[in-house]
């Protein structure tokens, strides 16, 4: 008895009678809202310099043909979008519970304003290049050579390059990482350190040796050659990522599969590989984007126009039409950007799971 009274007498802090619990809760909630508002507002401000140029690019791509470089659409769009975002931030921080209906209203109003202010200025003329390869020739008005390849050929080459590189990287990195993760062999530690060094190595110093190498083996000016080069450069990073994923797969399930009657290869296919699907997806996306965005090596190693990829197409087109048609260049840039954006949008979930944690030497 005496023990229990002693404990209850000392353990709980003194609470004044008539404490305003509801008031305390209210204050805590308000503080939380303030913090979240400040956080979102500052993040929004920081991201403005990144977002605005892209919005500008977008507005240029949809401006009328032959219009001078203008910011009219950009400013009008921002005049609507920025206040809408501010209103949304304030609403999110306001104490009222259900703001969904109000939020919908804001979106509708903003869209209506956009339609009124920006709608009349928008034009799809710049997008003719998608269907009419001669557009380029027309613009150039006989300056230089006119035999530009179709943009679809360039897009196809880019797809081939990025896809091929993705397949090579995924296959090689997965197998190599599995071996590095599971087997002990002479020079394993050095190999792992070497991977890190290779990753830190500035690859563009290799442009000339790789050019000569490709020339000697007869792969200069072939997509396959570029696929092999970029895949090789991407591999150290991919192997490292994959090794982390394999390290996280417990030994036991592999042993268990083998005791269950699977061969080592079957255990790998049926039991281990499904555990690292996320890792394969992540390196596949990284590899694809690397191939899609590559410029330096395609510019050096691809010579003929039929081998042009999107980055080369955009570069040469921007050069040849310098000062003549920004709208068209912007439209092509947006067209080039879209696959990356779509890929990011759908695969964010996988990319955010990649980390260097759990990597052992």
């Amino acid at each position: 008895m005496s023990a229990t009274t002693a404990i209850s007498g000392t353990a709980s802090p003194p609470v004044a009678a008539g404490t305003d619990w509801a008031g305390l809760a209210r204050r805590s909630k308000a503080a939380q809202r303030r913090r979240s508002f400040l956080l979102h507002a500052s993040l929004f401000v920081c991201s403005l310099p990144v977002i605005v140029p892209y919005v500008w690019l977008l507005t240029l791509a949809f401006s009328p043909r032959g219009a001078p470089v203008g910011t009219t659409i950009l400013w009008r769009a921002l005049v609507v979008i920025l206040p809408a975002i501010v209103v949304w931030l304030v609403m999110a921080a306001s104490p009222r519970g259900n703001t969904r209906a109000l939020g919908g209203l804001v979106v509708v109003v903003a869209l209506a304003l956009l339609a009124v202010l920006v709608g009349p200025l928008i034009s799809l003329e710049n997008w003719q290049f998608l269907f009419n390869p001669d557009v380029v020739a027309e613009i150039k008005r006989g300056v230089g050579d006119n035999d530009y390849p179709s943009i679809w050929l360039a897009a196809g080459n880019s797809l081939l390059l990025a896809g091929g590189e993705m397949v090579v990287v995924c296959t090689v990195a997965t197998l190599a990482a599995y071996y590095l993760s599971r087997f002990e062999f002479y020079g394993r530690g050095t190999f792992l350190k070497g991977l890190m060094v290779l990753h830190a190595f500035p690859v563009y110093t290799l442009v000339i040796p790789i050019f000569l190498l490709m020339y000697w083996v007869g792969m200069l000016d072939t997509i396959v050659g570029v696929v092999l080069v970029i895949a090789t450069l991407e591999l150290p990073f991919a192997i490292y990522i994959m090794k982390g994923f394999f390290d996280a797969v417990p030994w036991e399930i592999e042993m268990s599969a083998m005791a269950d009657g699977a061969s080592r290869r079957q255990a790998f296919w049926l039991v281990v590989l499904p555990q690292v699907k996320v890792g394969i997806a992540a390196i596949a996306i990284f590899a694809f984007l690397r191939g899609w965005e590559e410029y330096v090596f395609v510019a050096t190693l691809l010579l003929s126009k039929t081998n042009w990829v999107m980055s080369l197409f955009l570069f040469f087109f921007a050069q040849d039409t310098m000062g003549l048609d920004h709208g068209l260049v912007s439209a092509i840039a947006v067209f080039y950007l879209l696959p990356s954006l779509i890929l990011y949008a759908f695969t964010q979930r996988y990319l955010t799971q990649v980390s260097f944690s759990g990597i052992k030497g």
Binding site: E252, M255, S256, M258, G261, S263, V271, Q275
Partner: protein, 354 residues
């Protein structure tokens, strides 16, 4: 089902010998436990049996046939890992059916055997769930079903209960034992928990530093340990071990001089289990500490032999701290170990009449 023989089995990793000259025969249908502290080589032995590790020396015989070079997948062994090692991307049904994939069984037969194995461990309702949706005990059962579904000739259990909570451990212990008896499976259990070994196994193999210390039934292992290691490892609360010197005049332990029957000389260790010490006797002893344990009371006593723990039946302590009840013990409950730590057979000590 098979008779398993290990002949001079050895496994070394470079200069480290994990398992050293292990000789053991497990009869058909027998339940044997490999018991020892972590790092004693019991799991390495298990993995050699499973075919995951290859022995560096010695022979491994299943029904008289050497299987040293037979791959794990061809040994027809069921194994349950400490972590259960269920395949996280498969449903419980697919997990249990996995071993049948590699056998030429028809779809219907496979279905039937999965249901049967699931019924055996009572997880029929969980067949369409994923391992991540199961509790520890359920995962354990599924792992057991997966090990049993292929009707293995040998069942290996690697610390199967150590990830379960205390109550569940008790239930699973008796369930596994019943199942083993029902199916008549040759079973080898690896554990560091003596209670698990003594309650489940017919015979216990006590291992230390890669070697077998003793192979015996649970009662013999407890009452007649061959070595100081076994005596100290088996039993909770642990046995009292007291250093002493044996001579023609008897054994002197601490300040006490005890009578010796049997042959012993030089430095010895006297072992007496706490429950064999009776509080209240001629040997001077003072109560230092009292630990009520429910059914029993554990006393820590300062005696002329040194500090001794004594276990007494009853829920309430009969003595208080500071009292001097003295102690006594029966001579045939004493164990005497020589300098090398081997038990001296037939040697007992007794309190001299004063």
């Amino acid at each position: 089902m098979a008779r398993i023989e290990l002949v001079g089995l050895e496994k070394a990793w470079g200069s480290v010998t994990a398992v050293d000259d292990v000789n053991l025969a497990v009869e058909d249908g027998e339940f044997v436990a490999l018991l020892g502290p972590s790092g004693c080589g019991k799991t390495t032995t298990l993995f050699m049996l499973a075919g995951i590790y290859k022995p560096t020396a010695g022979r491994l015989l299943f029904d008289g046939h050497e299987v040293n070079d037979v791959e794990a997948k061809d040994r027809n062994i069921g194994i349950v890992f400490q972590s259960y090692a269920l395949y996280p991307h498969m449903t419980v049904r697919d997990n249990i059916a996995f071993p049948l994939r590699f056998k030429s069984t028809s779809q219907a037969e496979r279905q039937r055997r999965v249901e049967e194995a699931a019924a055996l461990v009572r997880v029929q309702e969980l067949l369409d769930r994923r391992p991540s949706q199961l509790s520890g005990g359920q995962q354990q059962r599924v792992a057991l079903a997966r090990a049993l579904v292929k009707q293995p000739q040998l069942l290996l259990l690697d610390e199967p209960l150590s990830n379960l909570d205390a109550t569940l451990r008790l239930t699973m212990r008796s369930e596994i034992k019943q199942l083993q008896a029902k199916l008549g499976l040759t079973t080898i259990l690896v554990t560091h928990d003596q209670l698990e070994a003594t309650t489940m196994a017919d015979r216990i193999v006590c291992m230390n530093k890669g070697r077998i210390e003793q192979v015996d039934g649970p009662d013999d292992l407890y009452a007649r340990p061959n070595s100081l290691f076994v005596a100290g490892f088996i039993g909770a609360p642990p046995i009292n071990l007291l250093p002493g010197v044996a001579g023609p005049a008897g054994v002197s332990v601490g300040e006490a001089s005890l009578a010796l029957s049997g042959k012993a000389a030089g430095a010895v260790t006297l072992g007496i289990r706490p429950e064999n010490i009776t509080v209240g006797g001629p040997l001077p002893a003072e109560v230092v500490q009292i630990e009520p344990m429910g059914r029993e009371v554990l006393y820590l006593l300062r005696t002329t032999m040194g500090e001794i723990k004594a276990l007494e039946a009853g829920t309430v302590a009969r003595w208080h701290i500071g009292e001097r009840p003295g102690i006594t013990f029966q001579p045939d409950a004493t164990l005497l170990f020589d300098e090398a730590g081997r038990r001296v057979a037939g040697a007992n000590v007794a309190i001299r009449n004063q």
